[in-house]
Symmetry: C2
Subunit: 674 residues, 2 copies
């Protein structure tokens, strides 16, 4: 039961760190604002199984606008249950209860539970797994049920959901009476593993394992790829396809182009891909922990790390965003990482970075390497946190690194496909579970600290209470004070992440003798003797000076971005009102000094560290020579703010993360014209 969605209850956030403030905003504002959206759009009542006018809208094909409504309700319930655990709220409580009643009443006699295929197309159940999100919705219902049962300690939601899973398990699998289907949008796999982990339901584990194993089988059903088989059954031409498929037969869109263990690169829809890998990591972890042998363990493990490495090394933005291609909401080719629409892409969906955090967290249980926690933190403070306004009422779905006239840096209150806002609620609700993990064997206890903030972890070992408190001004400062409280009978090992950008520089106070400390794969391990002698100690991670990031040369992005600690910065016209072309013609140079200033924003009350440097405008014309030197004559001040801060303070929606690296020589623009 190591999932952060379960373990977060052991953590209490303390103080007013950036993370605490964001959690409070969601708890007090966002959960209700999202509920209001569910009500006003018709989602709230969908499980009443009545007709809604939107069900008649055929302008989207094959996925109608309401297809994910089940999951929107489920994700809201899940997030609400997480925050109820924090702070009781009678209205939220009664709303959850009402929704659960509706879901229960919507279940069909045989256990089936899906709004679209009960109300709109009742004769077409399971006819299009590739596109129609039936199993995706089921997955989110499972996650809602787990959250519900953990908070309410009753079976009102989990019982009907387990009945539904039984039905799904009868339908899909390798048996004679089953078909070889699996979801076009993975999600149910990770949900089933979580269910197994909470309830011990081995059928859930087996079903998830089947879904992972069968995926991409070129001859799964009657000698055909399952998605071809079901398409033929529907009587559809292979050339008939939604806009998500740029070409026919692009099963990579849903990671079904090859069995997972044979996939060489991470492809397709980025949320699907990361949910899928999260399930793979969980299968490896749970099978190891519970001695449940799975065939080809090594091949699964190789695929997991291979696809992770491909994602992080070749397909991730400096903000932790993934997915360059809007058309399929997913990955482009290696190193194709344009910053915005006018360069040919940049999607970096909010849900995808949340899923990358989930995946990183799972891998940390398999391989305690600070790299995974670094990426988890990068995603959290940048691509994820930028997706919600500071007031908790407006969101982004796509998180480009540069605005353009066609796509300004702006927020929306809701989306027709509303996956991202409730995903933020779910993530921040369970965030305590991402900070650290712990375990024990007899008298030996360990706590691995992945993220620094203000929080206290409390758990029981051998009926004794262990608490670890951390207090810091992270992400602005690197010093964290720790206070451990544990019975002297226990031997407690602490492992503290040392981010890669610190380049190994830190100060521990009091300093341990060399035999009490070990640094391995990005974690400082403090041995039980040091911890026993120093239950109160502090770690200062150094390296909070502003630093430049530059993408891999193969990205053709000869840009410089500023970062400081885990925070990646951007420039906005709010601070630089002279800008009129989205900072496209602005260049910076690493030899101009960067200064920093701690500020409190008047409008939002948010405190943050702003950076300031110089910039120059490059002359851009393709009809003349452009001598950069002339334009260097007049540098301007350029103010940087955290990327997550963007689109909160008005302005004209002009923003950029990566600025032209002005260290480039002037050249002759082609074509030469008079």
């Amino acid at each position: 039961m190591s999932h952060p969605q379960i373990t977060f209850r052991k953590t209490k956030f303390q103080g007013d760190s950036v993370l605490s403030k964001r959690r409070q905003t969601i708890s007090r504002t966002t959960v209700r604002a999202q509920l209001e959206q569910l009500r006003s759009t018709g989602r709230y009542d969908c499980f009443k199984l009545k007709w809604h006018p939107i069900y008649e809208d055929k302008s989207m094909w094959p996925v109608p606008f309401h297809l994910f409504w089940d999951s929107d309700i489920a994700k809201w319930i899940e997030g609400a249950c997480y925050f109820l655990a924090d702070e009781y709220d009678a209205e939220i409580d009664s709303t959850v209860r009402e929704l659960v009643c509706m879901i229960r009443a919507a279940q069909q006699d045989d256990g089936y539970l899906n709004v679209h295929y009960t109300v709109v197309e009742p004769d077409k159940r399971w006819s299009n797994l590739r596109d129609m999100h039936e199993l995706y919705n089921a997955g989110h219902l499972i996650e809602a049920a787990i959250a519900h049962t953990e908070y309410y300690r009753n079976g009102l939601l989990i019982e009907p959901i387990e009945k539904y899973i039984d039905l799904i398990g009868k339908q899909f699998g390798p048996g004679q009476a089953q078909v070889r289907g699996y979801p076009g949008h993975p999600e149910i796999e990770l949900a089933l593993f979580r269910l197994y982990s909470v309830t011990g339901n081995t059928a859930a584990f087996d079903l998830a394992q089947y879904f992972l194993t069968e995926r991409g089988n070129p001859e799964g059903q009657d000698g055909k790829h399952y998605y071809d088989w079901e398409r033929e059954k529907r009587g559809e031409s292979p050339w008939l396809r939604s806009d998500s498929y740029p070409m026919h037969g692009n099963f990579w869109y849903c990671q079904a182009h090859a069995p997972i263990t044979e996939q060489k690169t991470i492809e397709g829809h980025s949320v699907r891909a990361t949910y899928l890998l999260t399930a793979v990591a969980d299968m490896l972890y749970l099978s190891q922990k519970d001695n449940r042998a799975i065939p080809n363990t090594q091949a699964w493990s190789d695929a997991l790390y291979r696809l992770w490495d491909n994602m992080v090394d070749k397909k991730m933005y400096v903000t932790g965003g993934i997915g360059a291609m809007a058309q399929w909401e997913g990955f482009g080719i290696d190193h194709f990482l344009p910053q915005g629409t006018d360069e040919g892409g940049c999607y970096a969906e909010t849900c995808a970075s949340i899923a990358a955090m989930m995946l990183a967290e799972r891998i940390l249980h398999l391989d305690l390497d600070g790299h995974y926690a670094d990426i988890m933190e990068l995603c959290l403070y940048n691509n994820v946190m930028t997706a919600m306004s500071l007031d908790g009422k407006a969101f982004t779905y796509i998180n480009q690194l540069a605005s353009s006239e066609a796509d300004k840096s702006v927020r929306e209150e809701w989306f027709w496909c509303a996956c991202c806002p409730p995903n933020l609620t779910r993530l921040f609700g369970s965030l305590g579970g991402y900070l650290w993990d712990h375990g024990s064997e007899e008298d030996n206890v360990f706590i691995n600290v992945h993220l620094y903030t203000g929080a206290e972890l409390a758990f029981e070992v051998n009926e004794s209470s262990v608490t670890l408190a951390q207090k810091s001004n992270w992400p602005w400062e690197g010093k964290t004070d720790f206070q451990l409280s544990a019975p002297s009978s226990l031997r407690t090992t602490l492992r503290l992440r040392l981010p890669a950008w610190a380049k190994g520089a830190y100060v521990l106070t009091p300093p341990p003798s060399p035999d009490r400390i070990k640094i391995e794969k990005g974690y400082i391990t403090l041995d039980p003797a040091y911890v026993a002698e120093n239950p109160a100690f502090s770690l200062e991670v150094l390296g909070f000076e502003p630093r430049y990031l530059s993408p891999h040369p193969y990205t053709n992005q000869r840009t410089l971005s500023l970062a400081r600690g885990p925070i990646v910065y951007c420039v906005e016209d709010a601070d630089n009102p002279w800008e009129t072309n989205h900072f496209k013609d602005v260049f910076v140079r690493t030899d101009s000094p960067v200064t920093e200033k701690t500020l409190i924003d008047e409008k939002t009350g948010e405190d943050y560290v702003a950076l300031q440097s110089k910039c120059w405008k490059q002359a851009v014309s393709n009809r003349v020579l452009y001598p950069i030197e002339d334009d260097c004559a007049e540098p301007r001040d350029l103010v940087f703010v955290p990327y997550y801060f963007r689109a909160n303070r008005g302005g004209r929606g002009q923003m950029r993360v990566g600025l032209v690296n002005g260290g480039i020589e002037s050249g002759i623009i082609f074509p030469e014209r008079e």
Copy 2:
């Protein structure tokens, strides 16, 4: 009758210039090699209207492999007729005669003339103009017929073709009994204007004008876009589409997303777009010349220059290639110009640059601006000439600026879609017509010289013979000797293009006095007095030193390419055998000297100017810092050859035009990993 496909007969190439040699190779080798391909693939006999096994192949949809066979035959006939005019060849002559007999015999009683819709789907004529190339094939038959009648001076081909045009004209148009169709693949428009120009067939002009005017009408047929109307008639879903359409309803693929006069940017399939604009330019020119009023002349003219400028300023490679996107063989967004497959594109189809030459040539008749001739020459010597091997037997269809493991720099003997090889034959066959144009009014004669080589132009004015000979070692040297012969009764104005890269630097010998010379829009105008006094004179265009080209900053291509005169260079592993990664990690600096050497290649006997400079290897890793300075310690020699020279001398298919500009600062690669 100004079209180069007609006027080329007045030019004789002389000497052994690069262009002459290429024409000889095509005449002696390529025409036959292509005929052999026509025979061996079954194309040769297609007009016999017998069944061919390939007609059963349904793996391509909706365009089957054989759909353009009519045009392959037509283009070969056209090219053969051009070279027959140069040098008689009995075998080629009898082959043309036989093919013409077959075409005549294939015509249906009502005039219809198309292999697929006569043999394979006889009940589906005109049912899918969007995709099925019926009118495209008709266009090439028209061009073949014009070439045939010019050479043979009989009506054996043009008569059946005019009958076919009559049928087409009855079918399509604004009348009650007509439908509002137009070709998905433009071509017939420019062919019809040429036909009008040769024969005075005004119905041909009107039909072409109708096709141009109707194109993109959102409510053309029964209140619907014609392509929607015909799709509905076929009973097809809007989501059913071939792989050329990335999303449904992408009529921009065939330039039918809006009326041409309302199109803001050049979009879609690049050959279609440039054929279409060639017809627009011709309509403007012919209507002006012949006083045929067309409505909205200004809007047509604005659209022509707007789309040309968009193409050249924002969507053209330094080699003259156009079309970044392989999927739709066409234009990407503005400034999206990746060099190769591993960067996300680069198509630069041979036919597209040939069409850009045709378009530039047409515009020169509307606006004598050296810019258009510069682009014409750029395309010719680079993207077009690189598309045929020096031995005339192998071709490229796609002309990337950089190879990759997935797409090496290699050639093929033929293609299933064989548009490019016979297009090279047609172009080189009529190349004399691109060198210059001329005209006269009473005793005033002008000759505009666009391209320099060894050639003689001869034409009659008032029953007197005028000849202009040019002799030069272009493209290697800038000096051209001219010799005019004209009766003293004529006043001859000569205009000589001064390429933009010469930056205005030239020497005329003997030097004219200032009142005898004018320089305007890239042309040196020599007045009749100077010409009369100096029938032999020479022009030396300066600026043949190697120079660097650098694409527009918005392309995100911080590269340097070497050029010299009209020739753009590349690097190949044949000269730089140490290279193993397609020159992706090699950088050059503008501050290292470039030397040049005139060589004769042993293998091919080709003489050329090679360039040599220094390069360095950049350390590429995303797990470490990369201090460029350390790697600068060991420069290597880097040999450059003309881009058209590539893939002729063995090697491993590694090639690149744009090399990393090493003037960039070192940076920190993200993500930082140990």
